[in-house]
Amino acid sequence: MREFLLKRTVQIIPLILGIICIDFLIIHLAPGDPTQMLGGELTGAPPEYQEKLRKDLGLDKPLWVQLFIYIKTILSGNLGYSFVYRSSVFDLIMKQVPNTLMLILTSMLFSIILGIFLGVNAARKPYSLFDNVTTSVSLLGYSIPNFWLGVVLLLVFSLRFGIFPVQGMYTVGGDLTGLDHVIDVARHLFLPMIVLGTSQLAMYTRLIRTSMLEVLDQDYILTAKSKGCSESQVLFDHALKNALLPTVTVIGLNLGFVLTGSILTETVFAWPGIGRLMYDAIFMRDYPLLLGIFTLISICVVLATLLTDITYGFLDPRIRYR
C-alpha cells in the first residue's frame, strides 16, 4: 500500500511542473514585455513596480534560470500580485473559494443522490417507460449548455414567477442573521445548484444505469436472489455497492469539468465565487489574476485525480497490486 501511495504521488510532480511551464510559456509569448502583462494592461502599473517585477522574474538572466525562478516562486505559494485589486492573487482567490465550494459540493451531492436513484430504477427494468424517459432526458441534460439553462431558469422562475431571487448569494441590505440567513442563502443557491448539477446528473444517471446492468448480470446476484434476498436488498446491498465503483472514479475526475461549469453558472447568477472573479478579471484584463486562477485550479484538479486514485485503491484492492 505504501509503495502504491508513493508511486502515485510521484506521478503528479511532472504534471504540476507542466502546469507551471504552461504559465511561463504564456507570460513570455504574450504580446509586449512580461512586466507589462503582469503589471496589468489597463491599470498602468508604475515604473517602480515594473522594475521590481523585472528583478523578481530575473528577466536579465538566461531563460532557463528565469524558468527555475518562476517554478520556485509558484511552488512557494506566491501566485503573483493583482494590481487591479492591490492584493496578492492567492488571497483574492482564497476569499472566493468557500462560495465556489458551496456551489460545487451541493451540486455534486444533488446529482449523485438523484443520479443513483434514477440510474438504479432505470436499470431495474431496462427498456421500460421509466428507463426510456430517463435515458432520453439524460441525453438532453448532457448536451444542454449550462449558461443557457441558467438564463432560461432565471427567466422562468425568478423574473416571471418570482419564486427564487434573481442573482447574488444573499439579499442585499437584508442583514439577516442565524437561520434566516441560511434560508436566504439556500434560496439563492437553489437555481445555480440545479444548473451546475444538470450535466453531472445526466452523466451519473447513465453511468450508474450501465454499471448496474452489468453488475445485475453477474452470478453473485443470482446467488443472492436464489437465497431469498428481497429485491431492495439485492439492488442496494449486492448490486449498487459494486456498481458505484466506476462512479467513484468519475466523480473525482469530473472536478475539472464541474469547475468549468461553475465559471459560467456563477456568471449567470452573479454568484460571488471564483468564476465571478474570473469574469471580472477578464473585463479588467487582470492577467496575473487569470494566470493565478488557472494555476491554482489546475493544481487542485491534479490533486483531485491523485485523491481519486488513492480512494479507488482503497476500495478495490486489485488496483493496488497491479
Binding site: 511532472p14 504534471l15 507542466g18 502546469i19 504552461i22 504564456i26 509569448l29 504574450a30 504580446p31 502583462m37 432520453s136 441525453l139 438532453l140 448532457y142 448536451s143 444542454i144 449548455p145 449558461f147 443557457w148 438564463v151 432560461v152 432565471l154 427567466l155 423574473l159 475539472g256 469539468f257 469547475l259 468549468t260 465559471i263 459560467l264 456568471t267 474570473m278 469574469y279 477578464i282 473585463f283 484584463r285 492577467y287 487569470l290 494566470l291 486562477i293 488557472f294 485550479i297 489546475s298 484538479v301 491534479v302 485525480t305
Partner: protein
C-alpha cells in the same frame, strides 16, 4: 477495379443500415444537414439585414413579422440566428479539423515510432487530459485576443490530446499486423506506411471523436462569447446570447432562441457521435 468499388458501396450501405437503427442519431444527422443548408443559404432565407438597426421596431416580441422578435437595435432575431449559424458552424468544424489533424499526427508519431518521441508526446497528453482545458482556452484568448481565427486555433491546439491517445492506441495494435509487416518488407517508407496503410485503418474512433469535437468546440466558443471574450465583429449564437443578457428582463426572446440553437447543434453532434460509435463497433453493441 469494379470489384473493389462494389465492396466499398456495400460496406457503406452496411454502415448506413447499422447507423439508421439508432433513431436519435438519424434525427441528429438530419438537424445537422438542415443547419448546414441554413448556413449556406442564409442570404436567401431572410429579407432582413441582420446588421442594420431599425429603432422603430426595437424589442418587439415574436410575431408573424418577426418570428423570433427583435433585439434592442430593432434587428430581426431570426435573421441574426440564421446568419449566426455560419460563424458558429465554421468555429465548430474548423476547430475540430485542427484538433483532429494535430491529434492524428501526434498519435501516429507516438504509436509508430515509440521511444523518446512517444514518451514526450504522452507526457504532454497526460498533462492536457488533466488540466481543465476551458480555463486554459480562456486564459490564452484573454491574453492573445479573441479574433475568430484566434479562438478557432486556440480551441484546436488545446484539445488534440484526446485524439492523439486514441490514435496511438490504434497504432500500437495495428503496427504489429501482417499487412504492415508486409509493407515494410516490400520496402515501403515509414511516411507511406503511416499515412497510406495504418491511418485509414485507424479512422473509426477518430470519426466518432470528430463529431464530439465539433460539439465541444461550438460549446467552447459559446462559453467564451458568453464571458465576453468572443469576436465582436462576427455574429455567433454565443455572441447573440451574450448581448441579449443585458435586456433579458424586457426581452426574453433574444436570449432564448440563440441558446436553443446552441443546444440543438451540440445535441445533434453528440447524437451523431453516439450513432457512429454504434455503427462502427457492431461488436460493442452485441454484448
Amino acid at each position: 477495379m469494379t470489384y473493389k468499388k462494389d465492396t466499398q458501396t456495400e460496406r457503406l450501405l452496411d454502415f448506413w443500415r447499422r447507423y439508421k437503427k439508432n433513431r436519435p442519431a438519424v434525427g441528429g444527422l438530419f438537424v445537422i444537414v438542415c443547419l448546414i443548408l441554413v448556413a449556406a443559404l442564409a442570404n436567401h432565407l431572410t429579407s432582413y439585414d441582420p446588421w442594420e438597426s431599425n429603432f422603430g421596431e426595437k424589442l418587439q416580441p415574436p410575431s408573424a413579422r418577426h418570428l423570433m422578435g427583435t433585439d434592442n437595435f430593432g434587428r430581426d432575431v431570426l435573421s441574426r440566428v440564421i446568419y449566426g449559424s455560419r460563424i458558429t458552424l465554421l468555429v465548430g468544424f474548423a476547430a475540430a479539423a485542427i484538433t483532429i489533424s494535430v491529434g492524428i499526427v501526434m498519435g501516429a508519431l507516438a504509436g509508430y515510432f515509440g521511444g523518446i518521441i512517444e514518451n514526450i508526446i504522452m507526457r504532454i497528453t497526460e498533462l492536457f487530459m488533466v488540466i481543465p482545458t476551458f480555463f486554459l482556452i480562456l486564459l490564452i484568448v484573454a491574453v492573445f485576443g479573441g479574433s475568430i481565427w484566434n479562438v478557432i486555433i486556440i480551441i484546436g491546439v488545446t484539445t488534440w490530446p484526446g485524439t492523439a491517445r486514441v490514435v496511438r492506441a490504434s497504432f500500437l495494435s495495428l503496427k504489429e499486423k501482417e499487412f504492415v509487416e508486409a509493407a515494410k518488407l516490400a520496402g515501403v517508407g515509414n511516411y507511406r506506411i503511416i499515412f497510406r496503410h495504418i491511418i485509414p485503418n485507424a479512422m473509426g474512433p477518430v470519426i466518432v471523436l470528430t463529431s464530439l469535437r465539433v460539439a465541444s468546440s461550438i460549446l467552447a466558443e459559446a462559453g467564451l462569447s458568453f464571458l465576453g471574450l468572443g469576436d465582436l465583429n462576427h455574429v455567433t449564437w454565443g455572441q447573440l446570447l451574450y448581448k441579449a443578457q443585458l435586456y433579458m428582463r424586457i426581452s426574453w426572446w433574444s436570449a432564448i432562441f440563440p441558446g436553443l440553437m446552441i443546444f440543438l447543434a451540440v445535441l445533434s453532434f453528440n447524437l451523431v457521435g453516439d450513432g457512429l460509435t454504434d455503427a462502427l463497433n457492431p461488436r460493442l453493441k452485441e454484448r
